[in-house]
Protein backbone atom coordinates (compact mmCIF):
# COMPACT_ATOMS: atom_id res chain seq x y z
CA UNK A 1 0.00 0.00 0.00
CA UNK A 2 1.38 3.43 -0.92
CA UNK A 3 1.81 5.53 2.22
CA UNK A 4 3.76 8.33 0.60
CA UNK A 5 3.36 10.30 -2.57
CA UNK A 6 6.16 12.49 -3.95
CA UNK A 7 4.86 15.69 -5.48
CA UNK A 8 7.52 17.61 -7.29
CA UNK A 9 7.59 21.41 -7.00
CA UNK A 10 8.66 21.39 -10.67
CA UNK A 11 5.31 19.93 -11.81
CA UNK A 12 2.82 22.28 -13.46
CA UNK A 13 -0.24 20.35 -12.31
CA UNK A 14 -1.61 20.05 -15.85
CA UNK A 15 -2.04 16.57 -17.35
CA UNK A 16 0.20 15.35 -20.15
CA UNK A 17 -1.66 15.20 -23.47
CA UNK A 18 -0.09 13.31 -26.41
CA UNK A 19 0.77 15.80 -29.14
CA UNK A 20 0.80 13.62 -32.26
CA UNK A 21 -0.37 10.31 -33.70
CA UNK A 22 2.73 8.39 -32.59
CA UNK A 23 2.50 9.59 -28.98
CA UNK A 24 -1.22 8.79 -28.96
CA UNK A 25 -0.53 5.26 -30.19
CA UNK A 26 2.02 4.81 -27.39
CA UNK A 27 -0.60 5.90 -24.86
CA UNK A 28 -3.10 3.37 -26.18
CA UNK A 29 -0.57 0.54 -25.78
CA UNK A 30 0.21 1.76 -22.28
CA UNK A 31 -3.50 1.79 -21.39
CA UNK A 32 -3.86 -1.79 -22.55
CA UNK A 33 -1.35 -2.74 -19.84
CA UNK A 34 -3.26 -0.77 -17.18
CA UNK A 35 -6.88 -1.72 -17.83
CA UNK A 36 -9.32 -1.89 -16.12
CA UNK A 37 -8.29 0.21 -13.10
CA UNK A 38 -5.51 2.40 -14.61
CA UNK A 39 -3.81 2.71 -11.25
CA UNK A 40 -0.19 3.79 -11.71
CA UNK A 41 2.12 0.93 -10.70
CA UNK A 42 5.38 2.90 -10.79
CA UNK A 43 4.19 5.32 -8.12
CA UNK A 44 4.90 8.65 -9.81
CA UNK A 45 1.32 9.37 -10.96
CA UNK A 46 -0.66 8.98 -7.75
CA UNK A 47 -3.69 10.86 -9.07
CA UNK A 48 -4.11 8.74 -12.20
CA UNK A 49 -7.58 7.18 -12.56
CA UNK A 50 -9.70 5.74 -15.34
CA UNK A 51 -11.28 9.18 -15.71
CA UNK A 52 -7.95 11.00 -16.05
CA UNK A 53 -6.64 8.43 -18.52
CA UNK A 54 -9.66 8.71 -20.79
CA UNK A 55 -9.53 12.50 -20.50
CA UNK A 56 -5.98 12.32 -21.88
CA UNK A 57 -7.09 9.98 -24.65
CA UNK A 58 -10.15 11.98 -25.69
CA UNK A 59 -8.31 15.32 -25.56
CA UNK A 60 -5.49 13.88 -27.67
CA UNK A 61 -8.00 12.53 -30.20
CA UNK A 62 -9.48 15.98 -30.61
CA UNK A 63 -5.97 17.41 -31.15
CA UNK A 64 -5.19 14.98 -33.97
CA UNK A 65 -8.68 15.13 -35.53
CA UNK A 66 -7.41 16.98 -38.64
CA UNK A 67 -4.87 14.20 -39.23
CA UNK A 68 -7.31 11.37 -38.47
CA UNK A 69 -10.11 12.70 -40.61
CA UNK A 70 -13.68 13.31 -39.49
CA UNK A 71 -14.92 9.74 -40.00
CA UNK A 72 -12.04 8.04 -38.18
CA UNK A 73 -12.23 10.64 -35.42
CA UNK A 74 -15.93 9.97 -34.82
CA UNK A 75 -15.30 6.22 -34.80
CA UNK A 76 -12.42 6.60 -32.32
CA UNK A 77 -14.49 8.72 -29.93
CA UNK A 78 -17.29 6.14 -29.99
CA UNK A 79 -14.83 3.28 -29.35
CA UNK A 80 -13.27 5.22 -26.46
CA UNK A 81 -16.63 5.68 -24.73
CA UNK A 82 -17.54 2.01 -25.14
CA UNK A 83 -14.17 0.85 -23.87
CA UNK A 84 -14.42 3.00 -20.75
CA UNK A 85 -17.88 1.64 -19.97
CA UNK A 86 -16.60 -1.93 -20.30
CA UNK A 87 -13.67 -1.31 -17.95
CA UNK A 88 -15.97 0.30 -15.37
CA UNK A 89 -18.16 -2.80 -15.41
CA UNK A 90 -15.26 -5.22 -14.81
CA UNK A 91 -13.00 -3.69 -12.12
CA UNK A 92 -11.63 -7.06 -10.97
CA UNK A 93 -11.13 -8.62 -14.42
CA UNK A 94 -13.58 -11.40 -13.78
CA UNK A 95 -16.30 -11.19 -16.44
CA UNK A 96 -14.41 -10.80 -19.71
CA UNK A 97 -15.37 -7.18 -20.33
CA UNK A 98 -11.84 -5.91 -19.70
CA UNK A 99 -10.62 -7.99 -22.61
CA UNK A 100 -13.42 -6.61 -24.82
CA UNK A 101 -12.42 -3.09 -23.82
CA UNK A 102 -8.74 -3.74 -24.61
CA UNK A 103 -9.76 -4.96 -28.08
CA UNK A 104 -11.65 -1.69 -28.61
CA UNK A 105 -8.53 0.29 -27.66
CA UNK A 106 -6.67 -1.80 -30.24
CA UNK A 107 -9.25 -0.78 -32.87
CA UNK A 108 -8.48 2.87 -32.11
CA UNK A 109 -4.78 2.03 -32.50
CA UNK A 110 -5.55 0.57 -35.93
CA UNK A 111 -7.31 3.80 -36.97
CA UNK A 112 -4.18 5.72 -35.94
CA UNK A 113 -1.88 3.33 -37.81
CA UNK A 114 -4.01 3.73 -40.95
CA UNK A 115 -3.86 7.51 -40.63
CA UNK A 116 -0.05 7.41 -40.28
CA UNK A 117 0.28 5.20 -43.35
CA UNK A 118 -1.84 7.65 -45.38
CA UNK A 119 0.35 10.54 -44.24
CA UNK A 120 3.57 8.73 -45.14
CA UNK A 121 2.17 7.77 -48.54
CA UNK A 122 1.17 11.40 -49.16
CA UNK A 123 4.60 12.55 -47.88
CA UNK A 124 2.97 14.83 -45.32
CA UNK A 125 5.45 16.24 -42.85
CA UNK A 126 5.35 16.28 -39.07
CA UNK A 127 6.11 19.24 -36.80
CA UNK A 128 9.84 18.70 -37.32
CA UNK A 129 9.47 18.66 -41.09
CA UNK A 130 10.05 14.91 -41.32
CA UNK A 131 7.86 12.37 -43.09
CA UNK A 132 7.16 10.07 -40.14
CA UNK A 133 3.41 9.70 -40.29
CA UNK A 134 3.03 11.97 -37.25
Amino acid sequence: MNDYVFRSPLASGAPFIPANLGELDDQLASMMLEAPTFVDRLGFLPDQTIDSRFHQLDTALSRVKPKLGAESYAKAVELSARAKALFLSDPDMTNGKTKEGVWLLDEISQLITDARRRRVKAKLRDDEGEVTGD
Partner: protein, 354 residues
Amino acid sequence: MNMERAWIPAGASPAERRRLFSIWVRTGRIPTRRDDGVELKFNPWHDPRDGRFTSGPGGEAAARDGPPERGGEGGGVGEGGVVRSDGVYRPGEPGPTLIPIGAPEPPETRGGNMRAFEDPMTLDEWQVDEHSALGPPLRLADQIFDITGPGAEVRTALMRVQAEKILSDIHQLDPTYVFQSFQFPYSEDGQRRLIDGLRFDRAVLTMRVKGDLEPLQLETYRFAQGATNDAYQEGLRRLKLTMLPIRLSEREALGNFVDQRVREQLRQRFFLAGVDCSGAGPVRLNRNEAVGENGRFRRPDIRVGDVAFDVSLSAKTRGQAQIRGFFNANFKPSMVVIIRPSELGRSTSYILRR
Protein backbone atom coordinates in the same frame (compact mmCIF):
# COMPACT_ATOMS: atom_id res chain seq x y z
CA MET B 1 22.54 24.84 6.88
CA ASN B 2 25.37 27.34 7.38
CA MET B 3 28.66 25.86 6.24
CA GLU B 4 31.93 27.34 5.18
CA ARG B 5 32.19 27.74 1.46
CA ALA B 6 33.52 24.74 -0.44
CA TRP B 7 36.84 25.65 -2.09
CA ILE B 8 37.02 23.14 -4.94
CA PRO B 9 40.29 23.11 -6.94
CA ALA B 10 39.93 25.10 -10.15
CA GLY B 11 41.35 22.38 -12.40
CA ALA B 12 38.97 19.66 -11.29
CA SER B 13 36.95 17.89 -14.00
CA PRO B 14 33.15 18.15 -13.87
CA ALA B 15 32.90 14.60 -12.49
CA GLU B 16 35.54 15.34 -9.85
CA ARG B 17 33.84 18.61 -8.94
CA ARG B 18 30.58 16.78 -8.41
CA ARG B 19 32.29 14.16 -6.26
CA LEU B 20 34.06 16.76 -4.10
CA PHE B 21 30.92 18.87 -3.82
CA SER B 22 28.98 15.83 -2.68
CA ILE B 23 31.60 15.00 -0.01
CA TRP B 24 31.69 18.65 1.14
CA VAL B 25 27.91 18.84 1.51
CA ARG B 26 27.90 15.58 3.47
CA THR B 27 30.92 16.11 5.74
CA GLY B 28 31.85 19.78 5.63
CA ARG B 29 35.34 18.89 4.40
CA ILE B 30 37.07 18.69 1.03
CA PRO B 31 39.37 15.61 0.87
CA THR B 32 43.06 16.52 0.98
CA ARG B 33 45.48 15.27 -1.65
CA ARG B 34 49.26 15.02 -1.41
CA ASP B 35 51.41 16.33 -4.25
CA ASP B 36 51.72 12.80 -5.63
CA GLY B 37 47.93 12.62 -5.93
CA VAL B 38 47.30 10.26 -3.01
CA GLU B 39 44.13 11.21 -1.18
CA LEU B 40 44.39 11.38 2.59
CA LYS B 41 41.44 9.77 4.31
CA PHE B 42 39.98 10.82 7.62
CA ASN B 43 40.28 7.92 10.04
CA PRO B 44 37.36 7.97 12.41
CA TRP B 45 39.14 5.66 14.85
CA HIS B 46 42.09 8.01 15.42
CA ASP B 47 42.63 8.45 19.14
CA PRO B 48 43.26 12.18 19.65
CA ARG B 49 44.72 11.63 23.13
CA ASP B 50 47.87 9.84 22.11
CA GLY B 51 47.79 9.88 18.30
CA ARG B 52 47.39 6.12 18.08
CA PHE B 53 44.88 4.43 15.81
CA THR B 54 42.42 2.20 17.58
CA SER B 55 40.59 -0.62 15.90
CA GLY B 56 37.16 0.44 16.95
CA PRO B 57 34.80 -1.20 19.35
CA GLY B 58 35.76 -4.69 20.43
CA GLY B 59 38.99 -4.67 18.46
CA GLU B 60 42.49 -5.63 19.40
CA ALA B 61 43.53 -2.14 20.50
CA ALA B 62 40.53 -1.84 22.76
CA ALA B 63 41.44 -5.12 24.45
CA ARG B 64 45.11 -4.11 24.60
CA ASP B 65 44.50 -0.61 25.95
CA GLY B 66 41.99 -1.59 28.57
CA PRO B 67 39.92 1.03 30.37
CA PRO B 68 41.00 4.62 29.80
CA GLU B 69 42.74 6.40 32.64
CA ARG B 70 40.60 9.47 32.73
CA GLY B 71 36.89 9.56 33.29
CA GLY B 72 34.24 12.05 32.43
CA GLU B 73 33.29 12.78 28.86
CA GLY B 74 36.35 11.13 27.38
CA GLY B 75 35.81 7.68 28.84
CA GLY B 76 35.54 5.66 31.98
CA VAL B 77 33.52 2.79 33.25
CA GLY B 78 29.89 3.18 32.49
CA GLU B 79 26.80 1.59 33.91
CA GLY B 80 26.78 -2.14 34.44
CA GLY B 81 30.56 -2.29 34.25
CA VAL B 82 30.66 -1.60 30.49
CA VAL B 83 33.98 -0.06 29.67
CA ARG B 84 33.75 2.81 27.25
CA SER B 85 36.50 3.68 24.83
CA ASP B 86 37.84 7.15 24.53
CA GLY B 87 35.92 9.53 22.39
CA VAL B 88 36.67 9.22 18.69
CA TYR B 89 36.02 11.86 16.09
CA ARG B 90 33.85 11.16 13.06
CA PRO B 91 33.72 13.30 9.92
CA GLY B 92 31.18 16.06 10.10
CA GLU B 93 30.53 15.83 13.86
CA PRO B 94 31.47 18.68 16.18
CA GLY B 95 32.69 16.51 19.07
CA PRO B 96 33.77 13.00 20.06
CA THR B 97 31.37 10.10 20.03
CA LEU B 98 31.44 7.57 22.83
CA ILE B 99 31.58 4.02 21.50
CA PRO B 100 30.97 1.24 24.01
CA ILE B 101 33.56 -1.50 23.67
CA GLY B 102 32.01 -4.72 22.53
CA ALA B 103 28.91 -3.00 21.23
CA PRO B 104 27.62 -3.88 17.76
CA GLU B 105 29.36 -1.90 15.05
CA PRO B 106 27.41 1.25 14.19
CA PRO B 107 25.95 0.76 10.74
CA GLU B 108 27.10 4.12 9.40
CA THR B 109 30.84 3.42 9.54
CA ARG B 110 31.79 0.52 7.32
CA GLY B 111 30.69 -2.76 5.81
CA GLY B 112 27.98 -3.57 3.24
CA ASN B 113 25.92 -0.47 3.95
CA MET B 114 28.58 1.97 2.76
CA ARG B 115 26.51 2.08 -0.41
CA ALA B 116 23.90 3.96 1.62
CA PHE B 117 26.24 6.96 1.41
CA GLU B 118 27.02 6.68 -2.27
CA ASP B 119 25.42 9.24 -4.49
CA PRO B 120 26.18 8.23 -8.08
CA MET B 121 25.34 10.92 -10.59
CA THR B 122 26.54 9.55 -13.91
CA LEU B 123 26.15 6.37 -15.93
CA ASP B 124 29.91 5.77 -15.53
CA GLU B 125 29.44 5.68 -11.77
CA TRP B 126 26.56 3.23 -12.17
CA GLN B 127 28.54 0.59 -14.03
CA VAL B 128 29.18 -2.77 -12.43
CA ASP B 129 32.87 -3.58 -12.31
CA GLU B 130 32.70 -6.94 -14.00
CA HIS B 131 33.54 -8.27 -17.41
CA SER B 132 30.83 -8.96 -19.91
CA ALA B 133 31.12 -10.00 -23.55
CA LEU B 134 28.37 -7.50 -24.45
CA GLY B 135 29.52 -4.36 -22.63
CA PRO B 136 29.96 -2.97 -19.12
CA PRO B 137 26.79 -4.00 -17.29
CA LEU B 138 24.74 -1.54 -15.29
CA ARG B 139 23.49 -1.99 -11.76
CA LEU B 140 19.83 -2.68 -11.22
CA ALA B 141 17.89 0.57 -11.02
CA ASP B 142 16.99 0.22 -7.34
CA GLN B 143 20.41 -0.89 -6.08
CA ILE B 144 20.95 2.62 -4.83
CA PHE B 145 18.77 1.45 -1.97
CA ASP B 146 20.78 -1.68 -1.11
CA ILE B 147 20.68 -1.33 2.63
CA THR B 148 20.88 -4.75 4.18
CA GLY B 149 20.62 -5.97 7.70
CA PRO B 150 19.47 -3.07 9.88
CA GLY B 151 15.92 -2.67 11.05
CA ALA B 152 13.44 -0.05 9.96
CA GLU B 153 14.74 2.68 12.23
CA VAL B 154 18.32 2.50 11.01
CA ARG B 155 17.18 2.17 7.39
CA THR B 156 15.02 5.24 7.85
CA ALA B 157 17.96 7.16 9.34
CA LEU B 158 20.19 6.26 6.39
CA MET B 159 17.52 7.16 3.86
CA ARG B 160 16.89 10.44 5.62
CA VAL B 161 20.59 11.31 5.30
CA GLN B 162 20.39 10.61 1.56
CA ALA B 163 17.25 12.67 1.12
CA GLU B 164 18.63 15.63 3.04
CA LYS B 165 21.84 15.55 1.05
CA ILE B 166 19.97 15.56 -2.27
CA LEU B 167 17.66 18.34 -1.11
CA SER B 168 20.68 20.37 -0.07
CA ASP B 169 22.18 19.91 -3.55
CA ILE B 170 18.90 21.06 -5.07
CA HIS B 171 18.85 24.21 -3.01
CA GLN B 172 22.40 24.97 -4.10
CA LEU B 173 21.08 24.83 -7.67
CA ASP B 174 17.74 26.52 -7.10
CA PRO B 175 17.16 28.32 -3.81
CA THR B 176 13.50 28.86 -4.77
CA TYR B 177 12.74 25.11 -4.83
CA VAL B 178 10.15 24.66 -2.11
CA PHE B 179 9.66 21.06 -1.05
CA GLN B 180 6.86 20.52 1.42
CA SER B 181 6.83 17.29 3.30
CA PHE B 182 5.11 17.03 6.63
CA GLN B 183 6.54 13.70 7.65
CA PHE B 184 9.41 11.55 6.41
CA PRO B 185 7.88 8.37 4.97
CA TYR B 186 8.14 5.33 7.21
CA SER B 187 7.80 2.55 4.65
CA GLU B 188 10.70 1.51 2.47
CA ASP B 189 8.60 2.04 -0.67
CA GLY B 190 7.67 5.54 0.40
CA GLN B 191 11.31 6.37 1.14
CA ARG B 192 12.35 5.08 -2.27
CA ARG B 193 9.70 7.19 -3.99
CA LEU B 194 10.87 10.27 -2.14
CA ILE B 195 14.54 9.76 -2.98
CA ASP B 196 13.81 8.85 -6.60
CA GLY B 197 11.67 11.97 -6.95
CA LEU B 198 14.33 14.22 -5.46
CA ARG B 199 17.08 12.64 -7.56
CA PHE B 200 15.10 13.24 -10.75
CA ASP B 201 14.42 16.86 -9.83
CA ARG B 202 18.07 17.41 -8.98
CA ALA B 203 19.06 15.98 -12.37
CA VAL B 204 16.61 18.26 -14.19
CA LEU B 205 17.85 21.32 -12.31
CA THR B 206 21.47 20.35 -12.98
CA MET B 207 20.61 20.34 -16.68
CA ARG B 208 18.83 23.70 -16.51
CA VAL B 209 21.30 25.53 -14.28
CA LYS B 210 24.63 24.02 -15.27
CA GLY B 211 23.89 22.53 -18.71
CA ASP B 212 25.22 19.21 -17.42
CA LEU B 213 23.15 16.27 -18.74
CA GLU B 214 24.97 13.39 -17.05
CA PRO B 215 22.78 13.17 -13.94
CA LEU B 216 19.65 13.23 -16.12
CA GLN B 217 21.12 10.47 -18.29
CA LEU B 218 21.50 8.31 -15.18
CA GLU B 219 18.01 9.07 -13.85
CA THR B 220 16.54 8.44 -17.31
CA TYR B 221 18.18 5.01 -17.30
CA ARG B 222 16.97 4.24 -13.75
CA PHE B 223 13.40 5.25 -14.52
CA ALA B 224 13.36 3.49 -17.90
CA GLN B 225 14.76 0.32 -16.33
CA GLY B 226 11.97 0.30 -13.74
CA ALA B 227 9.36 0.95 -16.41
CA THR B 228 10.84 -1.80 -18.63
CA ASN B 229 10.70 -4.33 -15.81
CA ASP B 230 7.10 -3.42 -14.99
CA ALA B 231 5.99 -3.48 -18.64
CA TYR B 232 7.67 -6.84 -19.23
CA GLN B 233 6.12 -8.50 -16.19
CA GLU B 234 2.68 -7.09 -16.85
CA GLY B 235 2.90 -7.87 -20.57
CA LEU B 236 3.83 -11.48 -19.87
CA ARG B 237 1.00 -11.82 -17.38
CA ARG B 238 -1.60 -10.42 -19.74
CA LEU B 239 -0.38 -12.45 -22.69
CA LYS B 240 -0.78 -15.62 -20.61
CA LEU B 241 -4.35 -14.50 -19.90
CA THR B 242 -4.83 -13.79 -23.65
CA MET B 243 -5.62 -10.21 -22.68
CA LEU B 244 -3.39 -8.54 -25.30
CA PRO B 245 -3.79 -8.50 -29.09
CA ILE B 246 -1.08 -10.33 -31.07
CA ARG B 247 -0.22 -9.67 -34.71
CA LEU B 248 2.88 -11.64 -35.73
CA SER B 249 3.91 -13.48 -32.58
CA GLU B 250 3.75 -13.27 -28.79
CA ARG B 251 7.38 -12.14 -28.60
CA GLU B 252 6.84 -9.43 -31.20
CA ALA B 253 3.73 -8.24 -29.37
CA LEU B 254 5.52 -8.25 -26.00
CA GLY B 255 8.47 -6.31 -27.42
CA ASN B 256 6.17 -3.68 -28.95
CA PHE B 257 4.12 -3.26 -25.79
CA VAL B 258 7.26 -2.86 -23.68
CA ASP B 259 8.73 -0.26 -26.09
CA GLN B 260 5.54 1.79 -26.26
CA ARG B 261 4.80 1.60 -22.56
CA VAL B 262 8.32 2.73 -21.56
CA ARG B 263 8.24 5.65 -24.01
CA GLU B 264 4.81 6.73 -22.80
CA GLN B 265 5.76 6.53 -19.13
CA LEU B 266 8.98 8.47 -19.77
CA ARG B 267 7.06 11.20 -21.60
CA GLN B 268 4.81 11.55 -18.57
CA ARG B 269 7.79 11.54 -16.21
CA PHE B 270 9.63 14.23 -18.14
CA PHE B 271 6.46 16.28 -18.49
CA LEU B 272 6.00 16.20 -14.71
CA ALA B 273 9.43 17.77 -14.34
CA GLY B 274 8.79 20.39 -17.00
CA VAL B 275 11.09 18.78 -19.59
CA ASP B 276 9.93 18.96 -23.21
CA CYS B 277 10.96 15.78 -25.02
CA SER B 278 9.16 16.19 -28.30
CA GLY B 279 11.03 19.08 -29.85
CA ALA B 280 14.51 20.35 -30.48
CA GLY B 281 15.80 20.05 -26.90
CA PRO B 282 18.44 17.62 -25.65
CA VAL B 283 15.79 15.10 -24.52
CA ARG B 284 14.03 13.34 -27.40
CA LEU B 285 11.82 10.26 -27.40
CA ASN B 286 11.39 8.20 -30.55
CA ARG B 287 12.40 10.99 -32.92
CA ASN B 288 14.29 10.81 -36.19
CA GLU B 289 18.02 11.39 -35.80
CA ALA B 290 19.72 12.23 -39.08
CA VAL B 291 22.54 10.07 -40.42
CA GLY B 292 24.62 12.06 -42.91
CA GLU B 293 22.98 14.53 -45.28
CA ASN B 294 20.99 12.29 -47.59
CA GLY B 295 17.76 11.99 -45.66
CA ARG B 296 18.72 8.79 -43.85
CA PHE B 297 17.89 8.55 -40.17
CA ARG B 298 17.79 6.35 -37.10
CA ARG B 299 15.16 6.46 -34.40
CA PRO B 300 16.45 5.65 -30.89
CA ASP B 301 13.80 5.00 -28.27
CA ILE B 302 15.33 7.67 -26.05
CA ARG B 303 18.03 10.26 -26.49
CA VAL B 304 19.39 12.47 -23.71
CA GLY B 305 22.16 14.67 -25.04
CA ASP B 306 24.86 12.45 -26.50
CA VAL B 307 23.52 9.19 -25.06
CA ALA B 308 21.06 6.96 -26.90
CA PHE B 309 18.97 4.36 -25.10
CA ASP B 310 17.43 1.31 -26.72
CA VAL B 311 14.79 -0.76 -24.93
CA SER B 312 15.03 -4.35 -26.08
CA LEU B 313 14.11 -7.90 -25.10
CA SER B 314 17.14 -9.29 -26.90
CA ALA B 315 20.81 -8.53 -26.44
CA LYS B 316 22.31 -6.26 -29.09
CA THR B 317 25.89 -5.87 -30.18
CA ARG B 318 27.93 -3.12 -31.76
CA GLY B 319 28.09 -5.09 -34.99
CA GLN B 320 24.34 -5.04 -35.57
CA ALA B 321 23.07 -2.61 -38.21
CA GLN B 322 20.74 -0.80 -35.84
CA ILE B 323 23.50 -0.12 -33.31
CA ARG B 324 26.01 0.87 -36.02
CA GLY B 325 23.35 3.24 -37.30
CA PHE B 326 22.98 4.87 -33.87
CA PHE B 327 26.73 5.47 -33.64
CA ASN B 328 26.74 6.87 -37.20
CA ALA B 329 23.98 9.36 -36.40
CA ASN B 330 24.94 13.02 -36.72
CA PHE B 331 24.60 13.64 -32.99
CA LYS B 332 27.53 11.20 -32.50
CA PRO B 333 26.43 9.39 -29.33
CA SER B 334 29.22 8.69 -26.85
CA MET B 335 27.38 5.56 -25.78
CA VAL B 336 24.32 3.46 -26.52
CA VAL B 337 22.65 2.03 -23.42
CA ILE B 338 20.78 -1.23 -23.98
CA ILE B 339 17.94 -1.58 -21.46
CA ARG B 340 16.51 -5.05 -21.04
CA PRO B 341 14.11 -6.51 -18.46
CA SER B 342 16.01 -7.44 -15.29
CA GLU B 343 13.95 -10.62 -15.11
CA LEU B 344 16.11 -11.95 -17.95
CA GLY B 345 19.23 -12.02 -15.75
CA ARG B 346 21.33 -10.12 -13.26
CA SER B 347 23.29 -7.71 -15.49
CA THR B 348 21.09 -7.61 -18.55
CA SER B 349 21.34 -3.85 -19.21
CA TYR B 350 24.70 -2.62 -20.40
CA ILE B 351 26.62 0.13 -22.16
CA LEU B 352 28.07 0.07 -25.66
CA ARG B 353 30.68 2.82 -26.00
CA ARG B 354 31.86 4.63 -29.07
